[in-house]
Amino acid sequence: MIQLNNIEKVYRTDTIETQALNNISLHVQKGEFLSIMGPSGCGKSTLLNLMGLLDVPSKGDILIDQQVTQNMADTKMARFRNSRIGFIFQSYHLINDLQVLDNVELPLLYRKSTAKERRELATEALVKVGLGNRIKHFPTQLSGGQRQRVAIARAIVGRPQIILADEPTGNLDSAMGDEIMNILLDLNKTDGTTIVMVTHDANMAERTHRLVRLFDGSQVQ
């Protein structure tokens, strides 16, 4: 489903050059639930961004569903992101000027859909993450954990084939974290959604199919 071949990512600023990823090759199978662990700054988010086509590698290539993503035209790339990938960001990235429901509807706004459909799907996703009673709130009126759940609802609302989750339970207590984990496991099992999840929690990682460990930009396991 996701295939990385000899990926390198170098960040260049005026003063320094950071080798964020170094020769990563990885194949995520369709329907697989993969977790990534590693110390802070080792390149986990960078790897996830590359998989989600939010960034381009400095070297190597990325295939999604057997399609080469290098040099993909902007509109095609946008459609790809929209229809196939659901992203859960480490720091939520909600739009504070929009109500929870409108935030969750966002991915649907960029594809063919009616207002009614959007409303129904977004409400359904919010109910799934236990926020059915908060749809008219603004993000700033929610707790950190609640915001994380809105971000999860937004990632699953478009029923993507792939979910890329960057520490989705990092801000939640263990009970809530478990609940989110159950949602992801359920999506993986019943819908066959391919999931790649970054986590610091070994217990969470244990419940997934496979674990990849990163250290200093390189794959160690």
Binding site: D55, A78, R81, S91, H93, I95, P107
Partner: protein, 391 residues
């Protein structure tokens, strides 16, 4: 998507208030400018109704001295004959001094039935229409048969006829002016004789006779196209000799017209320059705010890109937001603008306001589009990962 933009802007109404009021103010200024341009332009497009080329005005400066009215009449009759005898003179007419493009005005109340209007009044002779090549709409101009009529004959201009008798033909109707009853013998085309940019007000022409000859000291002279300065000099000496006028002045109607037009054009240009500066400032402000908006919203833009917005979609959204903002301003602005024709604030036709309103709305949208174009393009270039990384 539009609904989404409205929501987004509505939720940020406090931040957008300044921009909305800025656009609103520039809209109102533009509306004023366009109203004035439209009004002047529509007037400019009206036909002049007469020919001013090669028409000279001779202003004697003071009334002709004479023992009695008849001798004054005689002086003028002789002068007209002498002038007509000159090779380059086509026609000559006496006139009250409110000739075209002069600064003189003369007016009187005119009554027909219950209708009472204020009208310009012109004292002229039977050759006046020929000198200016006026056209009649109905009836006739003065001629020899108007010597001793029962009612003094008058000619109305079209504006006066419309004001007095409406759509009914005014010819043959009796009107009252200064306690006299007068018979309308003809209706002439409107003369745009104040300036190219002024509409014609109602006007009434009466024939100069012994009762009014004392006040007459102006003549209009139609000359041939090859009349030059040397000829003007000859003519000057002839008129001065015949009338013994001390302050005789000869002027060309075409030059007087240019001067009159400047009285409208100059303030208009000044207004345009001032409002141009104002609009430029507003455009800069608009540009700045949109620009600032984008730098402030980089992570939002990155997020939208990550969720599937195309680059074109993102710049389209920013443009859309700017247009929605402008629409808010224009709705409020139009509400104010339509008060002008509704309350008759100025005496301009409602059509002028409507045209100006339309033009102003288009102008503002255009301005907003131009100002949003570059920031929008800038936004499209934002890479989602970089933008999301920042906050």
């Amino acid at each position: 998507m539009i609904k989404h933009l409205f929501k987004l802007i509505w939720n940020k109404k406090k931040e957008n208030f300044l921009l909305i009021s800025e656009i609103l103010i520039s809209f109102l200024v533009i509306f004023a400018v366009f109203s004035s341009i439209t009004y002047n332009y529509l007037n400019y497009r009206e036909p002049a109704g007469f020919k001013y080329d090669d028409v000279w005005m001779a202003d004697l400066g003071s009334p002709v001295q004479g023992e009695n009215k008849d001798s004054v009449m005689l002086v003028f009759a002789n002068l007209k004959n002498a002038l007509k005898g000159m090779p380059k003179v086509r026609d000559v007419s006496l006139s009250s001094n409110n000739v075209p493009f002069s600064s003189s005005m003369m007016g009187s109340g005119v009554e027909y039935g219950h209708v009472n209007i204020q009208s310009d009044m012109y004292r002229v002779d039977k050759d006046f229409a020929k000198v200016l090549q006026m056209k009649m709409q109905s009836g006739r101009w003065f001629n020899e048969t108007d010597r001793n009529p029962v009612y003094l004959p008058v000619v109305l201009n079209a504006a006066a006829a419309m004001a007095l008798t409406g759509s009914a033909n005014a010819v043959g109707k009796l009107v009252k002016m200064e306690h006299q009853t007068l018979r309308v013998i003809g209706v002439a085309d409107n003369l745009k004789d104040k300036s190219d940019f002024k509409t014609t007000s109602p006007g009434i022409y009466t024939l100069i006779d012994t009762s009014s000859i004392r006040g007459i000291n102006t003549m209009l002279i139609k000359v041939s196209a090859n009349a030059d300065a040397r000829f003007e000099d000859q003519m000057y000496r002839l008129i001065a000799g015949t009338t013994r006028a001390h302050n005789l002045q000869v002027a060309h109607l075409s030059e007087m017209r240019t001067k009159k037009n400047k009285e409208i054009i100059v303030p208009m240009v000044i207004l345009l320059i001032i409002s141009g500066f104002l609009i430029f400032n507003v455009a800069l402000g608009l540009f700045g705010v949109l620009w600032y908006n984008i730098s402030k919203r980089r992570s939002e833009i990155g997020l939208r890109r990550a969720l599937g917005a195309t680059a074109a979609g993102v710049s389209g959204q920013l443009l859309g937001e700017a247009l929605v903002l402008a629409t808010f301003s224009l709705i409020i602005g139009s509400f104010f603008a339509v008060q002008f024709p509704l309350l008759h604030v100025y005496d301009l036709p409602a059509g002028v306001y409507m045209i100006a309103l339309l033009l102003s709305v288009l102008f503002i949208y255009l301005l907003v589009i131009v100002c949003a174009l570059y920031p929008g393009k800038q936004a499209a270039a934002i890479h989602p990962a970089v933008a999301l990384h920042e906050d």
